[in-house]
Amino acid sequence: MTTPYPYSSIKARLLIPLLAILLAGTFALAVAAAPYSRKAVDSVYDLLLAGAVLQIGERVQVDDGEVVVDLPGSAFELLALAREDRVFYRVLSPDGRTVTGDDVLPEPVRHLTPGKPLFYNSSVLGSPVRVAALRREMAERSLSGSVLVLVAQTMQARDDLAETLWRGSLVAIGLVCLLILLLSALAVRVALRPLASIDQALLAKNPRDLSPLVIEAPAELTHTVSAINQFLDRLRTQVNSTQSFIADVSHQLRTAITAIRAQAELAAEEDDPDRLRMLAARIHKRSVGLGRLSSQILNRAMVIHRADAVPLIPLDLRALALNADDLDHAPLPKDEVLVAGDPVSLEEALNNLISNAQRYGQPPLAVRVWQDDQADRACLAVRDHGQGIPPEHWEQAGERFNRIGQGGAESAGLGLAIVKAVAEAHQGSLLIQRGEDGGFEIGMSIPLLHEEPLA
């Protein structure tokens, strides 16, 4: 992990939670293993105790009304298998008297089933012991009742074995932990290998080649690959449209410049002052058109650049409408009409709309702003009372250099294209409609901005 931020690496993102899980698991296992091994050891050593207590119990007899026990050596040999442990035993007669053994060994508190050894932990002389207790029912003529046999052993051997077992299991757990870690590192490495193939496919591409990537990607990466391909697709469209735009622009500019040059050449050979004036007027008109064309080209470039580069801010369309000077505006809505927008682009679009209306429309002109709640849109439009664009051309409106209807030589055909580009940069669209009073309205509809303004 060479990066300073571990989370910037997918390997680290995978391995760190994995390690956390592993550690938690190891810890849980280690903790669980201790009582488990203790339990296993106890059950084994309990068998020794059970054997001893049963053997002693078998030797309990009634002799002349007295309980007598002939302790078997084998019982002690059995107990001595846990060599380092102290041994205590006690036999109690039905009247609770100790027949033989150690008084210090406490009696069980629980009820005993005859013939079935019961195990419990207790303590003798301050040492913890494990006790096996056995009840034997005596039914002799001279004595009846139950004899209690207790055998106890300290737990040194149990402790030692439990510790040995536990330590052994810790080693095993540790080794498994290590193995899992190594395998996970390997698995992560293998799993991340397809990412490198995408890198390589991209790097291997010719810079001019914007065709989609064709690689075998695992299911999880098909989205990434298709996103890259979609992006390449858009880039290709963009590059194509830029190329055709440049071709269009150079054609337009060349046409305009050729016309001006032709007029100027005519003027150079003209002697008639009236005709000269006329030619000068034409050259001037052409120049103005050329000027506007170039400024629109620049404006469009600016709008498209801003669409990519400038963050949108919340703004009120009413304020935009109020800023458009020397125009009437239709009554504005009372509430603010909020959109996320770029004020410069929107103003440029509005200016283009107004100038189109001034040029081709019939006064009175008005700027309208309204909110279309149904479509969740904010609308900004300029209304005039001229013919407007014939409905059959609404479809093509906004295409570059597509002069519809009245456009004369001085029209560059870029005004609506700019408006359309601005609308699209705001996830909106061009709006063309006939007003209720027969006016022609053209503008943009943009999604409304709700709730929190954009940061």
Binding site: L71, G126, L178, L181
Partner: protein
């Protein structure tokens, strides 16, 4: 990164281990401070059922090694008396002595089992059978033998095993009438222990009882009295006699006395020592055990006494008793283990004594201490 993670794993396990284990382990008494010469001093009181003369070289060596410790050696004639005193003091949590040494292993095991000893951490390389719980340590290696008067067997044919001894007594009862000595197990702790072991280990036990009864064996408290009888000619055979005492007597003018390691089996017992629970100077007591089993202590027990020690074992025994390396020996060391508690069971003891008395009812006990 993987190496780092596994390290974390390991550290976690290591941290976890002691905390979990601590709950399971019984609380051990603190290990003794190092037994360096300078660090142990004060007064050491030893209660022992061992002849002071027998153990004197060892005590001398100890004094030499630890000059700052003053040793008080209290000798008991009877292991049972010693046991009774310790048990009584232990019950009342009273200080009595620092070190308890006794030949009756079963009594010692019972005391340790009852919590009258302190756990030690000594370096001694004792064999398994000669130590218990790091509390009870075997200090000597003593065979239990048949002793005989050489002039009673002019043909040089003393019995080599229990079987031969039985055959002899059955074949010629008159010759052995009143001339066999053995323990009165009512008063002798070691005698009782040997008898319980004979009872469980050998098929000859019943017949031995019978023969001893028929030949009116003399019952005595101690090996010494049997050896006296062999020396003065009043006895011909002694059964279950402490080899160390017999050899010692042989060396001190008792050339009449012969020693036989029974070929069927020869019991070997070890005189055991433990540090008393309520000792006032436990480190001095531990130092004595440590010394007795040290190279120097073992050399003394091998060369200056007849007691030997469990670490040197059989090879040293052969050297000491002058046995050729190929002489057949069936040594059965008595293992210090809780199994010895069986013989000390109240009912078991009463039962065995009753049986023994019934078998020997004709034999009149001379009673302990009255001598011959």
């Amino acid at each position: 990164m993987i190496a780092r993670l596994s390290l974390v794993c390991g550290v976690l396990a290591a941290l976890l281990a002691p905390s979990l284990l601590r709950a399971e382990q019984p609380v051990l008494p603190l290990a003794l401070p190092s037994l360096e010469r300078s660090s142990v001093s004060g007064h050491l009181r030893i209660l022992s059922a061992t002849d002071a003369e027998m153990i004197a070289p060892l005590l001398q060596g100890f004094r030499h090694r630890y000059p700052d410790i003053t040793v008080e050696y209290v000798e008991y004639d009877q292991s049972q008396d010693l046991n009774r005193d310790v048990q009584a003091a232990c019950r009342q949590h009273m200080p009595l002595a620092d070190l308890i040494i006794n030949s009756a292993i079963d009594l010692q095991v019972k005391l340790v089992n009852g919590g009258c000893a302190q756990r030690q951490s000594l370096r001694a390389a004792l064999p398994e059978w000669a130590r218990w719980r790091d509390e009870l340590y075997g200090l000597t290696y003593e065979p239990v033998v048949i002793a005989y008067r050489k002039s009673a067997f002019p043909a040089g044919n003393p019995p080599r095993s229990r079987f031969e001894m039985l055959d002899l007594m059955r074949h010629d009862p008159a010759l052995y009438y009143g001339r066999v000595g053995t323990y009165d197990i009512r008063s002798s702790g070691a005698g009782y222990l040997f008898m319980t072991l004979d009872a469980t280990q050998a098929s000859t036990f019943g017949r031995m009882m019978e023969s001893l009864a028929r030949s009116q064996a003399r019952l005595v408290c101690c090996s010494a009295q049997v050896l006296d009888g062999l020396q003065d000619g009043s006895l011909s055979l002694g059964y279950n006699i402490l080899g160390a005492y017999a050899l010692d007597r042989q060396r001190k003018g008792g050339s009449e006395i012969g020693i036989i390691f029974p070929e069927d089996y020869t019991l070997v017992f070890t005189r055991t020592a433990f540090v008393y629970k309520f000792a006032s100077n436990p480190s001095a007591a531990a130092a004595f055990i440590d010394f007795a089993l040290s190279d120097e202590g073992r050399r003394i027990s091998r060369e200056e006494t007849t007691l030997l020690n469990p670490i040197d074992g059989e090879p040293a025994l052969r050297v000491l008793y002058g046995l050729p390396p190929d002489a057949p020996l069936r040594l059965r060391p008595i293992e210090i283990s809780p199994a010895l508690l069986l013989g000390q069971d109240q009912q078991k003891r009463r039962h065995l004594l009753k049986e023994w008395l019934a078998a020997l009812h004709e034999i009149a006990s001379e009673g302990p201490g009255e001598g011959w």
